[in-house]
């Protein structure tokens, strides 16, 4: 029984350490980031409103953020696919994921729904549930980001 769990753990480690696992996870994250960037690049004004709903950035920084951030996402996505500049791309990926996660966590705690920028006073349970779902989703992406960072460290170590 003990041996079996140990071998399971070993199998998982082996799979995670495999170059193809690294590659596929990179591609999946890349697809996600590229997909997310397209609509924002096409509609910067709409994206500016979304940033505004988070109520964390002063208004003066909103237009530059709305114009530059989607291109960072797209470039990071393309670099993740091609494998160029991986340390920089994965570093930025983690920085972005960490920022999104913190902003979301901050707003969940203060009871702001980021879909509409509405504060949920009283028992806005459903609204809080959506926020918790977002948190879980972004938390998962963050774990994936950490895995990629670990892998890029490991890879460079061998070189």
């Amino acid at each position: 029984m003990n041996q079996q769990t140990l071998s399971k753990k070993e199998t998982i480690q082996k799979v995670l350490a495999h170059p193809w696992c690294f590659r596929i996870v990179r591609w999946l994250m890349a697809a996600l980031f590229i997909y997310a960037s397209i609509d924002k690049i096409l509609h910067p004004a709409g994206f500016a409103e979304s940033i505004y709903h988070y109520q964390v950035l002063p208004n003066i920084f909103i237009p530059p953020a709305a114009l530059i951030l989607p291109w960072v996402e797209l470039l990071v996505g393309l670099l993740l696919i091609t494998g160029f500049w991986l340390p920089g791309a994965i570093g930025l990926l983690n920085l972005m994921l960490l920022t999104f996660f913190s902003a979301l966590l901050f707003n969940t705690i203060r009871g702001l729904n980021v879909d509409c920028g509405c504060f949920v006073s009283g028992g806005g349970l459903v609204s809080r549930t959506t926020m918790l779902l977002y948190l879980m989703r972004d938390g998962f992406f963050l774990l994936v980001g950490f895995y990629l960072a670990g892998r890029v460290l490991n890879r460079e170590r061998k070189e």
Binding site: N59, C118, V120, R157
Partner: protein
């Protein structure tokens, strides 16, 4: 090489690459925006668009209109929030399910009725969006009570639950 020296070794490379990526992104993003017809002004006082379209009124004005029954209040928030509590007599017309509830609203509300929309929070744009949607449907006398639900409760004005 151990992990600490590895991080030290990789750090400058990571920072330089990240910096270059941001620089390129800024160049493309700001550059394209410059040549776009409907561009976003990079500097200057940015304000959310939906916010500036609606004609707003104060809580005191809203209270007067409520007590004299001169206006119909319309709740723009999602249905579940409306059911948990809303301004007494307010109609629940969620922006997200406008089509589902609009017909009922149309039957009960003549086009010239004075309508006050509200949602919750200073930055909530749903009430402003609802004003736009109702204007498209031919309603003309529209106003927004900004941060309505919170203000209404703070002023201890009549509320009710359910449908």
């Amino acid at each position: 090489m151990n992990i600490t020296s590895q991080v030290k070794h990789l750090w400058p490379k990571t920072v330089i690459q990240a910096f270059l990526i941001i620089l390129i992104a800024a160049g493309i993003g700001l550059g394209l925006n410059h040549f776009r017809k409907e561009n976003l002004p990079v500097l200057g006082n940015w304000k959310p668009q939906v916010q500036s379209t609606g004609d707003t009124l104060s809580i005191d004005q809203a209270k007067k209109l409520f007590l004299s029954h001169e206006a119909v209040f319309v709740d723009a928030r999602p249905r579940n929030l409306y059911e948990q509590g809303h301004i007494q007599g307010a109609f629940g017309l969620p922006v997200e399910a406008f089509d589902q509830y609009f017909f009922e609203f149309l039957k009960a509300t003549p086009a010239k009725t004075r309508i006050i929309t509200y949602c919750d929070g200073e930055s909530c744009s749903l009430s402003h969006e609802l004003v736009k949607m109702l204007r498209d449907q031919g309603y003309t006398n529209l106003q927004v009570l900004s941060n309505g639900w919170t203000l209404w409760q703070q002023n201890q004005l009549p509320v009710e639950r359910g449908n």
